[in-house]
Amino acid sequence: MLGIVAAIIDGVLIGSVYGLAAMGLTLIWGVMNVVNLTHGAAIVAGMFALYLLTAAIGLPPYATLPVILVGGFLVGVALYWIAVHRMVDRAHLMSLLSTFAVNLVVIGLGTAVLGTGLFNVPVTLPSVTWQRYTFSGTHILAAALTALIAGLLYLFLYRTRPGKAVRAVANNREAAELCGIPTTRVLSFAFGLGVALAGAAGMLIATMFPFTVLSGDAYQLKSFVVTALGGLGNPAGALLGGVALGLIEGFAAQVMPVSWTLVIEFVLFVAVLLLFPRGVFALRRA
């Protein structure tokens, strides 16, 4: 019994980071109707940024977070102009394929340069022990930082003008254009923001688990599942969806053989897509 509670708590902690990762994906999807298939590569980039900054420059691990957020934003904006700008109004197929192509190139370069070995960033933090179960300090801090970033994002989207412009463009691009909002700049801004969030999520994941150049795929898939749960374009939903996924994973692993959790996850994914097209946690929208 205690084991199940411990698993659920740990699941929620890790799940919130999944939610952070998905927030970036869902923001981009909601604002410009583009499914960003470089999402996985952005997550991996965040992981390696943590590794390189701590190993090469000796920055303390958590100090890399602001660097990665800013760097990710700039990379995202550049990526928008290279691969996405021309695709925004075309059929879904084109933007899917172009972001997918960029993903192949980035991962391919990563593999060629860094190899496919396992990388680990040793982060030691005091852990919390309850009964016989231990909650790693890194998991707790990652969840806390996720909450912080999510809060900042909320403030940005709802309390600042640029944030409102982003929401306006997400809501109705033509109307926003008519109101004088520079939609193209907003789109590139939103894309940068999405990539920054993905990079930040990658960095936090790297403080918890080891990774390889190929780790992005698994987290990208999880982001899709979370986005489906939370509804498109709904960052709050994404966070909730992430927590829900973490909870399900943690719980399922305790009551059935661990190898079945992946089956549950993907069946859930397809089921949610079919039954809750707006997401399970979608807010009522006019």
């Binding site: 084109m94 391919g108 190898s259 897509l273």
Partner: protein, 336 residues
């Protein structure tokens, strides 16, 4: 799809296949595949052409959904993998003969595709694409846990399976010819669909599904049929391919990378064209094979595939055939 191509199709829909030049071009390609390696007993060529036939089969069948109906099936490899598993299972556990096992695999997977399809074809665009990934991953995760199929350790076939075909060496040739046959059927199927009323309906769906519905195209039925059709031959190809390997495991059978390569091929060759899928697959397979064994490039195949795809999507969305049609408009009538 351009309007004048559609017009051309509408115009000569009633000309039966054997009277069309393209029909004979396909026949020529099949004959070439079958005879060239056999003539010199050129085993190395046969191995690389074998992979090419698999790619062409996957790409042509993917074209039915992607090229004609405009539905992106990211997880199309699930048909190949399931066909492989069913074929290998029937042969190893129940001693079915090769032909029967593969046919059964094809039928079973098409039926399964119909069932899956009826569910997910209600989704549009990116949702559908993601759902196909979800299905592939769910099936892979399930098969990894499914002990009668060996779970994650996979299924092995003893070398005695090659005996009814005349021993391992001869069996390789037999399988190759069968795969060439499957490839040929895929090309003919894609062509037949393209020039039929069914194909016209699919293309209408691809252009604007709502308009097609309004005009009376039975979209849900057509989509389900196309999805199911696109599963049949890849399943048989999977069965034959894994029979040849005498070993199948989930990570090889449900490799998303192969699905995505099929997609790159369809785009590379020219979406919606039969020749495109074939030429694209052949070129891509040769390129990839060369990159893999080349000293300096073996790490770069992903980069090259990605860069190629990006260039096509950004600058030449019609692919190779699109470019050819543009430069030599007369080929449109002959090379479909």
């Amino acid at each position: 799809m351009k309007d004048d191509t559609t017009a051309a199709i509408v115009a000569d829909r009633r000309v039966p296949m054997p009277r069309r030049p393209f029909f004979w071009i396909i026949a020529l390609v099949i004959a070439a595949f079958a005879t060239v390696p056999a003539v010199g007993n050129n085993v190395e060529l046969r191995e690389s052409l074998l992979l090419a036939t698999v790619y062409i089969t996957l790409a042509s069948n993917l074209n039915l959904m992607l090229g004609y109906a405009g539905y992106i099936n990211f997880g199309s490899i699930v048909f190949f993998g399931l066909g492989g598993y069913i074929g290998v299972y029937l042969i190893s556990a129940h001693n079915w003969p090769l032909a029967a096992a593969e046919l059964a695999a094809g039928v079973a997977v098409s039926l399964l595709a119909l069932v899956f399809g009826l569910g997910i074809l209600r989704l549009r665009g990116a949702y559908f694409a993601l759902a196909t990934i979800g299905i592939n991953e769910a099936v892979e995760a399930f098969v990894s846990n499914f002990q009668p199929w060996g779970g994650s350790a996979g299924l092995y076939l003893p070398t005695t399976i090659f005996a009814p075909l005349g021993g391992p060496m001869r069996a390789l040739w037999v399988i190759y010819f069968l795969l060439v046959g499957v490839m040929g059927l895929s090309l003919y199927l894609a062509y037949a669909v393209k020039i039929s009323k069914f194909g016209l309906g699919l293309m209408a769906i691809g252009q604007n599904e709502d308009a097609a519905l309004v005009l009376g195209v039975p979209a849900p039925r057509y989509k389900a049929l196309a999805y199911s059709m696109s599963a049949f031959l890849p399943a048989i190809a999977g069965g034959l391919y894994f029979f040849k390997s005498a070993f199948i495991q989930p990570s090889d059978a449900f490799d998303l990378g192969l699905s995505t390569e099929a997609m790159v091929i369809v785009m590379l060759g020219g979406r919606g064209t039969v020749t495109g899928a074939a030429i694209g697959a052949y070129l891509y397979e040769e390129l990839r094979g060369w990159l893999l064994t080349s000293e300096s490039f073996s790490n770069f195949q992903l980069v090259v595939s990605g860069a190629l795809l990006l260039l096509i999507v950004l600058f030449v969305p019609g692919g190779l055939m699109g470019w050819i049609y543009g430069r030599w408009p007369r080929t449109k009538a002959v090379l479909e």
